[in-house]
């Protein structure tokens, strides 16, 4: 069965891009446009991984991350954003990986694969 991943991003274009690209990688991709929507989906469904944008209106990615890690401790989360410095600030805790947003999705894809592979073992 395909791994189920949840992409959380407030930008529609980026959600669609992630969806198409990650589907091509053979993943079962679900989308959420906000932190609130993401938490609702997580309540209903079981996911293997979350790709989470940090900068979102309303509940931001950091808050979503905190709540996710409280409830589903072992659910891997990849943070994605434009800020480079978050890498340092949040590197020490919680998120499993960090990716700088770019139209080149190679980094994101390899990171997803790495995490899912470790999970499988």
């Amino acid at each position: 069965m395909n791994e189920k991943i949840l992409v959380v991003d407030d930008e529609e274009g980026i959600r669609l891009l992630y969806k198409e690209e990650l589907m091509d990688e053979g993943l079962d991709v679900h989308l959420a446009a906000s932190g609130e929507e993401a938490l609702a989906k997580l309540e209903k469904d079981k996911f293997d991984l979350i790709v989470l944008d940090i900068k979102m209106p309303g509940m931001d990615g950091i808050e979503v991350l905190r709540r996710v890690k409280e409830r589903w401790k072992n659910l891997p989360v990849i943070l994605s954003t434009a800020y480079h410095h978050y890498k340092q600030e949040f590197g020490t805790w919680a998120s499993d990986a960090y990716v700088v947003k770019s139209s080149d999705l190679k980094e994101l894809k390899t990171t997803i694969k790495d995490i899912l592979n470790t999970g499988r073992k």
């Binding site: 930008e11 274009g13 980026i14 669609l16 891009l17 198409e20 690209e21 900068k55 434009a82 800020y83 480079h84 410095h85 978050y86 340092q88 600030e89 947003k101 770019s102 139209s103 080149d104 999705l105």
Partner: protein, 405 residues
């Protein structure tokens, strides 16, 4: 009579002319009014405690240039605070009543008048070959003139100080405005960059998908490739802007500047070779550490080296010097790339200012921000037609004996 000269003196001493010119006019006026042969005006140097000849008017001009405060007739006048009047039939000798003063020698009438109010400003020294009786009225007039002169000198000094202070303030303000402008520009740019980044990412991402689906169809691939390239360029620009305004997230550790520079230089090794650039290292070993964010600081040297390489496309020499100076670790990076045109000098640290076709103009703006965030100073020494030296001063880490705030 008498009030003429006083009003003239007031006129002179209040004019906008340079002090020296005003003193000259006063000296000339005194000579004609008192019918003396010579008039010299000395100014008192408050620090060195000496009288220095400022102007001379009249026939034979051979007064002593400098008097100590206890020397000669001017010395006597300023010590007692009272004018010295000498009038005699015979000529005055080299020594008068035990006071040696060659300037008086050969004259028959000499006046040495202190120029002072609460503070001593100088002295008037008037000499005549003839024996002249100075009436009490004239003495009084002279005292008033000397006081007016004192006021004029005082005002002049005040204005000079004021102008200096004013200029300093203006300079500081200009720098503040510049810093504020940079900050505001940076913040605006960062907001913009964030807004642009997301749509840009989907444009780029979908174009890449399009590229895959079109395959090698030559009728479209050139267009699509161009779009992908331009998007990448824009993404790089947005990246630079975000970095530029990225003030948080500094991770400080004790670093060896030589080591950071070396790492940056290694990054450009191929470029140096490719452009025929010789890198001369004059680095002081074992210097105290600095407190720095290694990645950020490396960016500083990356940017400077990139600029140097671009300026020396046809070869040259890059000299990197490091040294320890008081509480600073100083790095000088000199290239032989022809220097920066004076006309654009004031713009080079502005974000988006570039003279290069594919430049973002953010290199030096980011460099400036990072250095400032490290409590450092960056300076440019431009040698027009030869090259540029960028000087970067970073404070020695406190644990290393540095005591900067």
């Amino acid at each position: 009579m008498g009030y003429d000269i006083l009003s003239k003196i007031i006129e002179f001493t209040d004019s906008e002319e340079a002090l020296e010119k005003r003193l000259e006019d006063v000296a000339a006026l005194l000579i004609s009014f008192f019918a003396f042969d010579q008039c010299a005006i000395y100014l008192f140097d408050q620090e060195k405690k000496i009288l220095i000849l400022a102007v001379e008017a009249g026939s034979k001009q051979e007064g002593q240039r400098v008097y100590r405060e206890d020397e000669g007739l001017p010395g006597l006048a300023i010590k007692t605070g009272k004018p010295v009047f000498i009038t005699q039939f015979g000529r005055i000798k080299d020594v008068w009543q035990g006071i040696a003063d060659k300037s008086a020698s050969g004259f028959k009438t000499v006046i040495c008048h202190p120029v002072k109010d609460d503070i001593l400003y100088g002295a008037l020294y008037m000499r005549s070959m003839d024996k002249k009786i100075i009436s009490p009225k004239k003495k009084k007039l002279l005292a008033v003139i000397a006081l007016q002169l004192a006021t004029a000198i005082k005002n002049y000094e005040c204005i000079v100080h004021l102008t200096d202070a004013n200029k300093k303030m203006q300079d500081m303000q200009a720098r503040l405005v510049h810093a504020e402008k940079l900050l505001a520009l940076g913040e605006m740019a960062a907001t913009l960059a964030h807004e642009i980044r997301n749509p840009l990412m989907s444009i780029g991402g979908f174009t890449k998908r399009l590229q895959q689906q079109l395959g090698a169809d030559p009728s479209h691939s050139a267009y699509v490739e161009r779009i992908v390239k331009e998007v990448e360029r824009l993404e790089k620009l947005m990246d630079g802007i975000v970095r530029f305004s990225d003030k948080s997230g500094y991770e400080l550790s004790l670093e060896d500047i030589n080591n950071i520079i070396e790492e940056a230089a290694q990054f450009f090794e191929d470029e140096f070779k490719g452009s025929g650039i010789a890198v001369v290292r004059d680095m002081t070993p074992d210097m105290p550490r600095i407190e720095a964010d290694r990645q950020q600081l490396k960016l500083v040297f990356n940017n400077l080296m990139a600029n140097a390489i671009q300026a020396m496309a046809k070869g040259g020499t890059l000299t990197i010097q490091t040294r320890h100076e008081d509480n600073w670790i100083v790095t000088e990076m000199s290239d032989t790339g022809g220097g920066i045109d004076i006309k654009i000098m004031s713009n080079i640290f502005n974000p988006f200012y570039t003279t290069k076709e594919t430049g973002t103009g953010l290199g030096l703006a980011i460099t400036h921000t990072i250095v400032t965030n490290h409590k450092g100073i960056i300076e440019v020494n431009n040698n027009m037609g030869v090259g540029v030296t960028f000087v970067i001063k970073l404070p020695v880490a406190r644990e290393q004996g540095g005591n900067y705030e």
